[in-house]
Amino acid sequence: MIGKSVIRKEAWDKVTGAAKYTNDYVTPGTLHARLVTSPYAHANIQAIDIEKALSVPGVRAIVTGEGLPLTGEDLLDRPPIAFEKVRYHGEVVAVVVADTLVQAEKAANLVRITYEPLPVVGSPREALKEGAPLIHEQLGSYQKGRGIYPEPNTNIAHRTKIRKGNMEKGWAESDVVVEASFSFSPSDHAAMETRCATAEILPDGYIIIYASSQSPFMIKKLISSYFGEDVGKVIVHTPLVGGAYGGKTPVQLELLAYLASKAVGGRKVSVWNTREDDIITSPVHIGLEATVKLGCTNDGYLKAAEILYLFDGGAYSDKAIDVSRAGAVDCTGPYHIENVWCDSLCVYTNHPYACPFRGFGHGELSFAIERTMDLLAEKLQMDRLELRMKNAICPGHTTPTQVLLNNSNVGNLPKCIERLRELIHWDDWQRIEIDARTVRAKGVSCIWKTSTVDTDASSGAILTFNPNGSINLISGVVEIGTGTKTILAQILAEKMKMDIKDIHVKMEVDTQTTPEHWKTVASRGTFMAGRAVLKAADDAIRQLKEIASIVLRASVEDLEVGYGKVFLRDDPAIYVNIKDIAYGYKYPNGNAIGGQIIGRGNYILRHLTYLDKETGAGKPGPEWTVGAQAVEIEFDKRDYTYKIIRAVSVIDIGKVLNEKAAIGQVMGAMSMGLSWASRETFLFDRYERVLNPQLRTYRLLRFGEHPEYIVEFVETPQIDAPYGARGAGEHGLIGMPSALANALSVAAEVPLNELPLVPELIWRKKKGEHHGSI
C-alpha cells in the first residue's frame, strides 16, 4: 500500500462535476455581497456617502469600517474594512449586501468615497529611507504575539536576526568574496477558485461559515477572539478547495461575511471574490529585495555569509512576518557556513498585503542565494555544481539557527546533487551554441526547507467503524488538491492491513465534528495528520483486541488485527471477523458486549522553540527536506526570447508514500515556480496601483509552454514521520526561479538578478539600463 500510486479518493467526483467547492453551495435566498475597494494605494478617507447606493432596489445593508477591532495573526494591524485611511490599492472600504449580485454591484458603484491621496511607498528600500511616509503611525501601540518585534515610527513590522559564529573570523578566512543585490515585486497565487466565504448567524447565536480556506480552525478561533463570540458556537465548513498554495491561509473574507450577516439580522450572506478582487484585494505572494555577500577560501569552502532580506510585506503584516522569519531560519540555503550574519525584515509598503506562498519564503531566498553561488563559482572559476557539492549541508553541521543536524532531521543533499549531475548530463556540456542565434544552457540550484509552524501546532484524527467493518476516516486536513486525505487512507490501510476501498474518507472539514488540524500548510499534512491517524489506528486496534480476547477466550497479547479479522497470532484459523465486533459482539443468546469502535489519535510537534531575539538560535521546525534542481533553456540571442526545454528535480522525500501523487506534487510546484520566475509580477504605476489585476494581463504559464519534467526521489527516512516520509508539497518550486536565472545568465552572458525573467529584462541588462523601456 505504501508507495503505490493509489488514485485519489475524490477523483471521480472531480471528473464528473460532482465535486463541490464553497461557491457551489450558495443556496437560493442567500444574500450577495460586493466589495467597494480603494482606487488609491495610500490615502485618507474623508467621507463615505452611501445614500444613493442604499436606494438601489434589493440593497439590504452597507457595512463600513467604523468601530471594528484590529485583526492580524502575529500583529494586530489590520481593520477588516479600512477605517480613516487606506493603505493599498484594492483595500476594502465598504461591503454592499443585496438580494442579487447584480444589485450589489450596481449599488457598489454608487458608493461615493472622498479620498485625500498621500505619498506612497513603493518598495522595502524606499520604506526604510529616512523621511519615508509612515504607513502605520500607531505601530507602537498594536497588540502583538510573542516573539514579534515591530519598530515603532518606522515601516518595519518585524526583524529577525541571525548571529552565528564570528564574522570577523569568517571574512579573515575568506580569500574570495562576492556581493550582489536581488529584487522582485509581489505577485499572485492565482488559484483557479477565487476565494469565497458565506456566513449565517442563527437565532440561537450559532455562526455557520462556509469558507474556501486552508485554516478553518483558525477562522473559528479568530472570529471568537476578535468579536467576543463563543468559540464553540462558531462552526466552519470547508469543502474541497480549488487550489490554495498558501493564499488561502489568511482569514479575510470570512470576517467580512460575518460582519455582513450581522448587518442583515443573521441572514446568510455570500462574499465571493471576482478575479480582480482576488488578485489585489486578497493577500498576495510576497516580494523581496536582498543583498547577499558570500566569502570562501580559494578552494571554494564557504566561510562567511552576510545577508539582508527585505521582504515586501505590503500594507499589513498578516503572515508576512512569519514568512520573513522563515527566510532567516534557512537564510543561507542548504550550505554549511560557520559564520553567518543575517537580518530579515518584514517591511510595510503600499502594496497589497502578503501572505504565505508555496515554499514560504524559500523560493524567494533561494533566488538570492543560488544566484550568488553562481557568481561565486564564476569568480572562483569553479564548476557550479562542484561548489555546491563542496558546501552541501550534512549531518553534523549546524543550521543558521544553530540546530545540530543528523541523518533523520536532514536528508542526503550530496546524493541528490550526484543524481542530478547524471540526469542532466552536466559533465557533457553546460552551454552550447547551436547556431548563430541559438544558445542552450543549464542552470542548477540546491534547496532546503523546514517548516516554521506554531510550536504547539497539533492534529487529530477519528476513525469510526461501519457495520461491515469498513472505516470512516475523519481528519481536519483540508483537501486543497494535494491528495493528502488519500495518503492518510493509504497509511491507515497499511496499518490495519485492509483494502483501501474499505476506507471512507470524509473530505469536508466541519470544525464542530472534525478534529482539529492546525492549518493545511507547510507540507505538514502527511507528517502530523499521518501520526494522528496511526495513533487512532492503534487505539482502534486496542479496542478490537479487547473485545476479541473475550470472544476468543485468549489474552490480548496473543491477538493480531488484519485482513478484516482479529486472529490468534500462532493459529490464524481461530479468529473473529471485525464486522462482528465493530458494533459490539452479540452472543447467540442475545447478550452483547462492547459497542461501536471509535479510534482517536492526535499529534503535537515536539521540542520546537521560539528563536532568540538577538541571535536567532532556536528550533523552528521538525525536519528539513533537501534537494537539487536544474533547468535547461534555449535562448535566442537576437530577440532575447527563450524556451524552457527541461526541468529536473531530485528531492530527498524520506519515503515515497504515493508515487504518482508525489511526482505530481513536485511537477506542479516546479511549474508554478517556472511560471512565477518567467512571467509573473504585479505591474505598479508610480502611484503603486496594480495595472494588471486580470488573468489576461497577469499571465500564467499555459498548456504548450510547459517543458519536459524529470523528477526523482532519494529516500533518507525521517524517523519520526509516518513511514519516514518528509514533507514535499512545496519543495519542487523553491529552486526553479534561481535555476532558470542561472541558466539564462549563462546563456545571455549577463547577470540576471531580478524577476520575472522576461525577454525585456534580459535585453535591458544586456544593452544597459539607459535604453529605458520598450
Binding site: 472531480k14 464528473t16 483557479m192 478575479r275 494535494t482 506534487q665 499555459r702 498548456f703 519534467y709
Partner: protein
C-alpha cells in the same frame, strides 16, 4: 430597466429541456449554476481568460461566461454533468491530470471535444485547443498525457 427584466427561455441541457426564468443579460454560466444548479462549470475569471467555465454548445467548446444564456436557445448544451463514462474522464483519473480539480470540468469538456473532432490531432492542434484553459496545480504534462492516451486509443480502434 430592460436588463433586469426576467424572461422565460427554453434551454436544452444534457439532453433535457429546461424552461428557465432569467434576465436576457444573464450569462450561460450564471444560468447553469444558479438557475439549473449545475455547478460543474466553474467561474474563474468571468472574462474569457481561464476556461474553467467551458461547456459544449452543439459539440463545440464555449466559455460559458462569455455567452448569454438567451443565445443558446435552440442549441444543444452539454456540461460536465452530462458527460458519462467518457474515455477522457477515465484518462484524467488514470494520469493524475488534476489535483484540486477546479479547472478539471473545463479542461475535460475542451479536451473531450478535441478528441472527438480531431482524433489525429497534432501537437500544434492540441496546444491551440488547450492553451485556452489554465491549470494552476498540475504541470500540464499530466493533462497532455491524458489527452494523448485517448487519441492513441482512438487511433488503434480505427
Amino acid at each position: 430597466m430592460a436588463t433586469t427584466q426576467q424572461c422565460e427561455m427554453l434551454l436544452t441541457v444534457n439532453g433535457e429541456a429546461h424552461s428557465v426564468i432569467a434576465r436576457p443579460a444573464d450569462t450561460l454560466l450564471f444560468v447553469l449554476r444558479n438557475k439549473l444548479r449545475l455547478t460543474g462549470a466553474k467561474p474563474g475569471c468571468l472574462n474569457g481568460d481561464c476556461g474553467a467555465c467551458t461547456v459544449l454548445i452543439d459539440g463545440g467548446p464555449i466559455k460559458s461566461c462569455m455567452m448569454l444564456a438567451i443565445e443558446t436557445v435552440g442549441k444543444t448544451i452539454t456540461t460536465i454533468e452530462g458527460l458519462k463514462h467518457s474515455p477522457i474522464q477515465q484518462a484524467f483519473v488514470e494520469h493524475f491530470a488534476f489535483q484540486c480539480g477546479y479547472c478539471t470540468p473545463g479542461f475535460i469538456m475542451n479536451a473531450h471535444a478535441l478528441t472527438e473532432k480531431y482524433p489525429d490531432a497534432s501537437d500544434d492542434v492540441i496546444q491551440e485547443w488547450l492553451e485556452s484553459n489554465i491549470c494552476r496545480c498540475t504541470s500540464y504534462r499530466e493533462i497532455e498525457q491524458a489527452v494523448k492516451s485517448v487519441l492513441l486509443k482512438k487511433h488503434r480502434n480505427d
